[in-house]
Structure formats: C-alpha cells, structure tokens
Amino acid sequence: MIPGRLLRFLAIAAALILLPIIDGNPYHIDILATAALYALLALGLNIIVGFAGLLHLGYAALFAIGAYTYALLNLRMGCSFWLALPISGGMAGVAGVLLGLPAIRVRGDYLAIVTLGFGEIVRIVFTNLEEWTGGPNGLMGIAHPVFGSFNFGVNSTPYYGLLVVLVAATAWACAKLRGSRMGLAWRAVKEDELAAGCLGIDASRMKLLALGLGGWIAGLAGCVFAAKQGTITPDSFDFILSVMILAMVILGGIGSVTGVIVGAVVLSAAPELLREFSAYRMLLFGLLMIVLMRVRPQGLFGTSVSPPAR
C-alpha cells in the first residue's frame, strides 16, 4: 500500500470508530450497522458478479443458510457465536459451490434464473420444514454473542464494531484478491472464457471458487444477522433482498471494492432516511435509483465504461 492510500485508510478507520462515539443515538448506529451488514453482503456478491462475472439472483439464500446455521447450532446444541461464525460461513460456502456444480453449466442470464430458482427453493424449504426451522414463525431466542464477560445484547453498537472489522477485512482481502493471480484468472474468465481456457485456466474451477467465497461471506453475514436480530423468519430472505444486494453492487460500481461499500451504504440508508415521507418513501426510493443510475451509468465508483453489450 502506498503511503497516501495508507493515510486515507487510517482516516476512514478512525472516522468509522469515532462515529458511534460522537453520535451516540442508537438508531443512527443501527442504520450504520445495517449498512455495514449490507456492505459485507455486497462485497461477497461482488466476488461472484464483479470478479467472476456470474449474475447471481439468489444471494439471499446463502445469507439465509448462514443465519439458520447459527440459529440451529445455538438453539439445538448451545453452540457459541464465535464457533458458529466460521461454520455458518462454511455451510453457506458449501451451499454456494453445490449450487454452482450444476449452475455453471448454464451461461449468462440462464445462470441468473437458476440462481433465482435456488433462492426461492431455499426460502420455501425453510418455510415448509416446520419441525426444524419453526416454519413461518421462524426461530426465536437466538443467543447474542458473548465476548469475554461482555454480552452484545440488543444494542447495535457492538455489532457495528464487529461488522466494521468484518467489512474491513473482507474489503482488504478483496482488494488483494483482485490483483492476485486468482483475480486475473477471474477477469480472464469473465472477459473471454474460451481464451482463458486456452491459457490453461480452469474456468469451472474459478467459477466454483467465486461462488464458494461469495457464499462464505454471505454465511458470515447471516450468522451476525441472526445474532443481532435474535429472531429470524424466512420472509427476511426473499427475492427482493437478493435484488437489493445486486443493486448495491451495480450502483456502487461493479468490481470496485470501495464502490460496492458505498453502494451498500447509500441503498440501505436511503429507505431509512426517507422514512419521514412514510407512504411515499418507496416511490422516492425508486426515483432515487433511476436518477443515480442516469447520472452515473457506470456506477458511483465504476471507472471502466465497457463497450456496449453488443
């Protein structure tokens, strides 16, 4: 990292840590925590969509798998949050790869619908398997994380801290990943699969890797979400959520790590800030999406304007 960037990085880190101290309003911190959660999800999806170029419309399902994994581990076996965190990530990662095995046989927009179908299937299965998942009632009484003698509780501040750490680590890893051999291989596969194959890149393996990594991050996010909410129900993980996470990635600028985070913050905070307009808020939110995209078609932080799709 060059010094200038390091300085900027430190400044951002300091601002993020100071924010909850300066502004102690728990509601604002909750908005920030939610934004950080979305940022984590968007970073994960960015690996799949931005790096590997796979249009995924069922990302909420992987998020759900992470959340239910922690909830079930905790409620059935008393498993602690910290132990469950990597397991949730792992489960969602495996689910991502398992979905990928058949899904990478189809291309482009067909992949989109296969993943969409996967998302719906997972949500309905969680709704229908009542003995395990509590059905539409969901699971309640999920334990909040305990760190030493400190219980995270319902206040959002500790979750905000945890999520900022997770987002920062993921963002750092993503930035490293993009420039690495793996990142370059993804780019090659994304731009021209045939040519990448000729260079000895195993496209299927690269795609599965992206799906697994993206799934892992969704699983982590799901675990934190379940711990923060204390209650999860299947209707928290619908198609709209998948679309919103995708919108964050695109709005921020596909592939750009900073952009994706900003996109997540903008799109998750906007509906909250528009609450004043009660019944009009989703109308305004729609308008905001149109306007932002028309002003910055390549995304807020997108740089490369790729040639038109044809």
Partner: protein
Amino acid sequence: MSSTFRCILCALVLSPLFAGCGKGEPVVKIGFVVPLTGDQAAHGMDMQRGAELALEQAQAKGPVLPGFKLELATLDDARNPAQAVSAAKRLAADGDVLAVVGHLNSSCTKPASAIYHEARLLHVNPVSSNPQISRQGFDTFFRICPTDDLQGPAGAHFAIQRLGAHRIFVLDDMTTYGRGLANEFLKAAQSTGAEILGHEGITQGEKDFTPVLTKIKGLNPDLIYFAGMFPEAALLLKQRFKLNLSARFLGGDGLFEPALIDLAGPGAAEGMYLTTLGGDIRQVPTAQEFVKAFEAKYGHLGAYSSYAYEGTNIALEAIRQAGRKDRQAVLTAMKQMKQYPGILGVHTFDAKGDTSIRTIGIYTVHSGKFEFVE
C-alpha cells in the same frame, strides 16, 4: 465533476443522521408502527387512521401531558421483520417517545417487542394474536386482542359441535399468524375427534388456488378451515364457488373485513363462517361513538381500526397517569392501571400482558352481509 459528485452524495446521505437535533417546543411522542407500504399497507393505513383519531380526540379534550406537545411518530415496517426491528430501534433511540403502539403482523411484533423491552418502553399491541409473543416474559408488553389459542379452539368447537363437521381440510397462508392459528385449530379439532384430511399452506399474494381446491373437492370434506387474510380468502371462496365445491367454509379474524364479500362476490361468500376477535363492533354500545366519528371522518371502517384506536388510547391514558416525561413512570402507570374501560370492553391485563377480553365472536355471511351468530 465525479469527485465533487461523490462528496456531495456522501454528505447528502450522511447529513440527516446528524441533523434534526434542533430544539423547539418540548415534545412527547407515541410511536406507531404498522405496514404502510407493501402488500399489507391497506390494513396499516386503516390502523393509522384509528390511532390518529384517538390522538385528535384526546387533544381536543385538553393536553395529555401539560407543557408538552403530543405527536404520533408513525413508522412503516412493510410487514418485514428486519424493518420492524429497525423501526423499533429508531423509536427506542428517540427520547421523546414514551410508548409504542404497534405492529400488525405477529412476525414483526415478536422481534420488535424485545427492543421495546430493552428500552423500557411501554408496548401496546393491537392485533398480533400469536400466543407465543406474550410468553417471552417481557413486562413492557400489553396486548388488547384475544390470542389464537382461544380463537383456534373456538373455531374448532363451532365447526364440530354446531356445523357438525367431521371431515375437515385445513389451509393457511404460511405466515406467523396463519400457521399459528391453523395449528391451534388443528390441535383442538383433532382432540375433539374430527378427521383432518390434510393441512396445506398457500402463498400470500398468489391468485390461483383452483389446483388445491380441486384436490380438496376430490377428498370430499364437510368443511374447509382457512387461517389467513381476506384477499386470499376472497379468492378461495370465489374459486370454491366456480368449482362447485360444496364443503362449508370457516375462517379466522383475518377474514373479517366487508371487502371480503365484495371481492368474493355475494354468491360465493354466502353462508361462510368466521371467528372474530371480540364481538361485533357495531353492536358494542361503548363503541358506537367511535364508529360514528370514524366513519364521519374517513368513511370506511377497517377491520383493525378499532384496535389501533383502543391501543393508542391506552398508551395515552398511561402517559396521562404518569404525568411526566419518563418512560419508567409510564410503564409503572400502565402496570398500576387495574382496569381500562375502552370501546371494546373493560380490559384487565394478566401477568403476561394479555387482556381479559377473551370473547371470540362467530359470524356468517347472510344476504351479502356479515351477520353475528354467537
């Protein structure tokens, strides 16, 4: 341009977080959260009117808390549990909020009630009838409607004893409310010895239920029980009629909405039965003034408007008795309130916070109108 744009954007997004701390006339607020967008916005808006009417009438009688301006802080949860939690946190964080009336859906009320409990905020719940919510042990939770462990068995009893149903098919809308009510009905019906031919969920928002109704027709039951909301019930009734399916139809309180009969068509709704939380609001003497005032102001009276009105009034009463801007005082006042004579009857709350009004009404549709049975 682009970096300026980015800066402006960031500033725009973050600025309201830190704004709005200006001081003016001292204010106290009652939080009110229902779905105002999304597929259940209609119920939410009906409830919002009830709450607004309660506040308006209270203020017309003079200040509730002298020296403070009283406001309703209305928020939207879009019937989404995550959004409900976020709205709850917002209210919890706002020091001006002394009590919350809210959440329509049980799936929203349940997680939100934990936030209000943590914030020591009086939480009056109008219509989330899932029994589990009050079993969480929150002393901040007060509910003014009867729960589904009363409604389900009441429906089963009526179906078997009065309608003579022996072969029953159960449908629900796969929501916290619908599935919970269906399970309570099922348990009671089975223990009374009825034969349950099947129990299936339908998807809220879908329109075509003819396949499952055709299947039910093939099983030839005496009665179909549906736990869900009126839009789906209207379609079920209409399609049952089109399919020439003769089984009787019984539903829960989510169906108690005159629009049901319009949407299904009078012919298709004729002769169906439903259980309701409480009796007929139009026949309760104490509610007549409310019904008149509501209809004069807004026209159509929604199914849950009266509950939102009652809930808001109870919160107002607790604030009035507390006499100062202090959440704990409001909560203490609520706990000390032995009885509350409202428009729905006289409420006394048990240790779980559930009301003593446990009447379940039974209605039928006769000549295109709801008619009280018992």
